[in-house]
Amino acid sequence: MEPTSTLVSIAFAHNELNYSEQAMGGTCSGVPHIVAAIGLVAALPFSAAEQDDRLHCATPPGISGGRLVSVSRFEPRTLNWVVASDMGSREVLQFLMADLIHINRDTQKPEPALARSWTVSADGRHWVLDLRRGLQFSDGHPFDADDVLFTFQVIFDERSHSPQRDLLTLEGKPIAVRKLGQYRVAFDLPVARAVADRLFDRVYILPRHKLEAACKAGRIAAAWSLSTPPSEIAGLGPFRLKSYTAGQQTTLERNPHYWKIDAAGRVLPYLDEVTFVVGGSEDNQVLRFQNGESDVINRVSAKDYAVLEAGQSRRGYELRDLGASMEVAVLVFNLSDLPASTSPELRLHQSFLRHKSLRQAISAAIDRAAIVRLVYRGRATALAGPVPPGNHEWLNTRLPSPVRSLDRARQLLTADGFQFRNGQLFDRAGKPVEFSILVSNSTPERQQVATMIQDDLKPLGIRVNLVPMDFPSIGERLTRTRQFEAAMAGFATPDADPNPDLAIYLSSGGNHLWNPSQKSPASPWEAEIDDLMRRQQVELKYGERKRLFDRVQEIMAQNLPMIPLVSPNILVGAKRNLGNFRPSLLEPHTLWNLDQLYWRSPGAGGR
C-alpha cells in the first residue's frame, strides 16, 4: 500500500496521468483525485459514494431512445473476446465489454474507465489501479478485483491460445497481476515501458462468475460461441447482447447497469438498441447507407464517397473526410536470406533489389501525386516515411517530401553500375532487371496502386510482373516461406504511439517484413534502429523519445527496405439526425462513443 503523499506526487509527475485537465472538450473525465479522497474520507452514505464512482461525462446531454443500425462487411464469428481475432467479432464485442483504462479516441489520451485512478512507481514498472466500486455486470452481478485477476489469468492461460497474450507480453515475459484489495489491483511489468497505461486499452474485463467453470475445465476457448444464449453473456459495456441471427444481424440492447452518467445525471447509453447488419460486400454497405437502411457508414473508399457525396442533402445524411489516417500503404521488399529450395529466378530478382540504389530509384520514379489523384480521388496523402501524417505527435516533418524525378532515378542507377539499352535496364552482369509484386485479391485499391507503379517503372526500363493472390497465400509467403520479391502491404497502427509497432522496426520482430525474426541485425542501419527503438521504449520523456524516433524514420527513408507510398484519408458518414457524432481517426472511427450517441428528433432512426 503506497502512502497518499507518494500517490499524489507520482500521479502528477507523469503528464499522461494529469487527467484532471481533460475535463474540458466534452470528454469523459475521471472525478479528480482530491474530490474522491474527500468523498471517501467523509462519512457519506453508501449510495452517494457509489454514485460518485460512476464516470461523469461532460458531453452535452442527449435524448434517450431509438435504435441505431450499422451495416458491416463481416459477421461476428465468436462472442469470446479472448480468442476473437477477426474484425466482425471485435466490432460487436467492443460494445459489450469495458476496459480498465481507455484511450479517448478524440484526444488520443488514456482516460480512467473501470479503473478510477492509478499510480505508477518511479521506475515505471509497478502500476496500482484503483477500481470503481459498486459497479455491476450487465446481469446484475457485482464487479471487483477478482474479475480483473480472472481476465488476466484467462489471457495467459496456455489452453486459450489467446492472441491478446502477446500484446501483454513484454520482452517475452508476461505482465504479472496481483490483488491488493477488493477494489485494488497491482500490475508488475517485467521491464519498464513508456506510456504503459496505453497497454490496457481494449483489454476487456470478463465476468468470473460466468466463465470460471469453463476456464477450470480447460474449455475457455470454446466458451461464448455464437450459439450461446444471451442470458449467459455478461459484460461491463454500454450494451448487452439481445439476439443473434445467423448470417443476418446481431442486435444489442441497452445495459441497464452501465456505469457512465451524463452531466444531467442520466445513465448512459441513450440508444435503446444497436443492430449490426451483415452486408457482405462494400457495395452492399454503400447501397444500404444510401437507401437509408443503415445510419452510419464506417470507412468508405474514395470512389464510393464521391457517389454518396452527390446525394448528401437530399437523402438526409452527411459525409465527413477526417483527413489523413493512421494507415500506410507500402511496397515491401524481401531482403532476407532465401531458403535453399528457392528458384534461381527468385534469387536473381532479389539480387537486384538488394541494391539500395535500385530501391531508391524505384521510390523516386513512383508518381505518388498521381496515385493520390487517381486511386484515392485526392483523398490521401503521399508519404515520405513509414509514419502516417495522421500521427501528428510522432511524424518526422523534416523528411524531404517525395517528388517524382526520373532523372534522379536514372542518376542513382547509372552511378551504381546499371545500364540502359534499348529501353531496358540491365545490371552490371548484363541481366535484364525485372521483378514481381505480390498483391492481395481482396483490396482493389492496392491492386490499382500496384498497376500504377508498374506503369511508373516502365520509363526506367524495369519490367514489373503483378501477381494477384489470395490473402492467406500471401501471408504464407511473407511470413513462413519467404518466397517473394516485393509485395504490396499496409500497416494500420491502432495507436499513435510507436510502441505497438516495435515488431515492425526491431530486427527481431515478427512484423519486420523485409527480414523478420533475425537473430542479430543483418545490417548496420538495422542495428542502429534496434538500438534507437529500445531506448525510446524505456525513455519516459516524450521529447527525447520523439528525437530517437525521428532518427529511426530518417534511417528508414534512406535505406528504403519498404517504400512508403500513400496514406488514405478516413471517410465516414452518418445521418444528420445523429447527435454527438464525433468521428475519430482511431478505430472504431464512427462508433467509439456509441454510449453517447443519440437521435436528435425522437423517433427518428429505429424502424
Binding site: V286, K303, A306, V307, L346, D367, L374, G378, N441, M452
Partner: protein, 330 residues
C-alpha cells in the same frame, strides 16, 4: 443455311477478326495510361462544327477535366480531325487530342482498345478450354460407348466425381502455388486448361450416347463382319457419326467457357494486370460507383452479348439440322 445462320456466322466472323487484329483496329495500346483523363466519358465524334458547317472528315473537340468534381467538358476552341491509318492503326487523333470511343477507366486507359485486346483473352480462353474439354470428352465418350462394360462404368463414375468437385478451391490452390516469374498469360492459360479439363463430362455423356447408337448401326456391324479392328471402326465409322454432336457441343461450350472466364475474373482468378480481358474489365465495372457514375465501362458486356448470341444461334441451327437429320434417318 438459313439467312439467320448466315447473319450469325457473319457477325461472329467479324467479331473474331476485329479482336484478332486488335493491334490494327484499336487506336491505343491496352496499357497506355492517360493520367490526365481518368474515367473520361466517351468522346463525341462530330461532323458538324459550332457554326453548323458539315465536315467530311469527322472530328473531336479537346477534352478538359474540371477538378475537383472530376467531370469533363468539351473545349470547342480545339479541334482534332480524325486521322485514318496513322502509323499502323486504323484511326486515331493527333496528340494532345484524345479519341476515347468508349471512354476510359480509372487510369485513363481507352476502354474501346481494351475491349478489343481483351476479347483476345476471353475468346481464346473459351476456345482453348472447349478444345480441351471436347478432346477429352470425345476420347472418354467414345471409349465408354464403344467398349461398354467396366470401362463405361468407371468413366461415368469418374465423370460424376468431376462434376461435383470444388473447382474453385483447386484453382485458388494452383494459382497460389505457381512460381512468381511466370508471366500473367501463362498463369492464366494454366487456369483455363484446368477448367477445360474439368469440363469433359457433359460432352463425354453425349458422345457416349451417340457412340452407343452408332455401334449398333449397319455399317459398323458389317465392318466387324469382315474383321475390322476396333480402332479402324472407331476412326472410320463412329467418329464421323459423332461429328455433328461434337460441333454442336462446341458451339454450346465456347460461350459457356467465355462466361466462366468472366466468373473467374469476378473471383480474382482472372488474368493479371495490365492485360485486359472482358472478365476483369467487367469485374471492375460492376462495382456500384462504376455503374452509377461511369457506366461506359460496361462496354465489354455489349461486346460479349452479341458474341454469345451468335454462338447460340449457330448452336440452335446445328441442333435443328441434327434433329432433322435424325428424323430423316428414322
Amino acid at each position: 443455311m438459313t439467312r439467320r445462320v448466315r447473319i450469325a456466322a457473319g457477325v461472329l466472323f467479324a467479331l473474331h477478326a476485329v479482336v484478332l487484329l486488335a493491334g490494327f483496329f484499336a487506336p491505343y495500346d491496352y496499357d497506355e495510361q492517360h493520367r490526365d483523363y481518368p474515367y473520361a466519358p466517351p468522346t463525341r465524334v462530330r461532323m458538324f462544327d459550332p457554326q453548323g458547317r458539315f465536315h467530311l472528315r469527322p472530328f473531336v473537340y479537346g477534352s478538359v477535366q474540371k477538378l475537383p468534381s472530376g467531370e469533363y467538358r468539351e473545349d470547342h476552341s480545339r479541334i482534332y480531325p480524325v486521322r485514318f491509318f496513322p502509323d499502323g492503326r486504323l484511326f486515331g487523333v493527333a496528340d494532345p487530342g484524345v479519341l476515347f470511343l468508349c471512354g476510359t477507366d480509372g487510369f485513363g486507359r481507352d476502354v474501346f482498345s481494351r475491349v478489343l485486346y481483351g476479347g483476345r483473352i476471353s475468346i481464346l480462353s473459351g476456345l482453348l478450354a472447349t478444345l480441351i474439354a471436347l478432346t477429352l470428352g470425345t476420347i472418354a465418350g467414345t471409349l465408354a460407348g464403344f467398349y461398354g462394360g467396366w470401362m463405361d462404368r468407371v468413366l461415368m463414375r469418374t465423370g460424376e466425381l468431376f462434376l461435383a468437385l470444388p473447382w474453385l478451391y483447386l484453382l485458388l490452390g494452383i494459382r497460389a502455388m505457381l512460381p512468381l516469374h511466370i508471366q500473367p498469360g501463362q498463369a492464366f492459360a494454366l487456369v483455363v486448361v484446368v477448367i477445360g479439363t474439368m469440363g469433359w463430362v457433359r460432352p463425354a455423356r453425349l458422345i457416349r450416347g451417340m457412340t452407343l447408337t452408332a455401334r449398333e448401326s449397319a455399317y459398323v456391324l458389317a465392318a466387324r463382319g469382315f474383321g475390322a479392328s476396333s480402332v479402324y471402326v472407331i476412326r472410320r465409322h463412329i467418329l464421323p457419326m459423332t461429328w455433328s454432336v461434337i460441333l454442336t457441343q462446341a458451339t454450346i461450350l465456347i460461350p459457356q467457357f467465355i462466361r466462366a472466364e468472366v466468373t473467374l475474373s469476378f473471383l480474382g482468378l482472372g488474368i493479371a494486370e495490365p492485360m485486359p480481358s472482358w472478365g476483369n474489365m467487367l469485374a471492375e465495372a460492376r462495382q456500384y460507383f462504376a455503374i452509377v457514375s461511369h457506366s461506359w465501362m460496361l462496354a465489354p458486356g455489349f461486346a460479349l452479348i452479341p458474341l454469345l448470341l451468335g454462338y447460340l444461334v449457330l448452336a440452335d441451327s446445328l441442333l435443328a439440322a441434327g434433329a432433322s437429320d435424325a428424323n430423316q434417318d428414322s
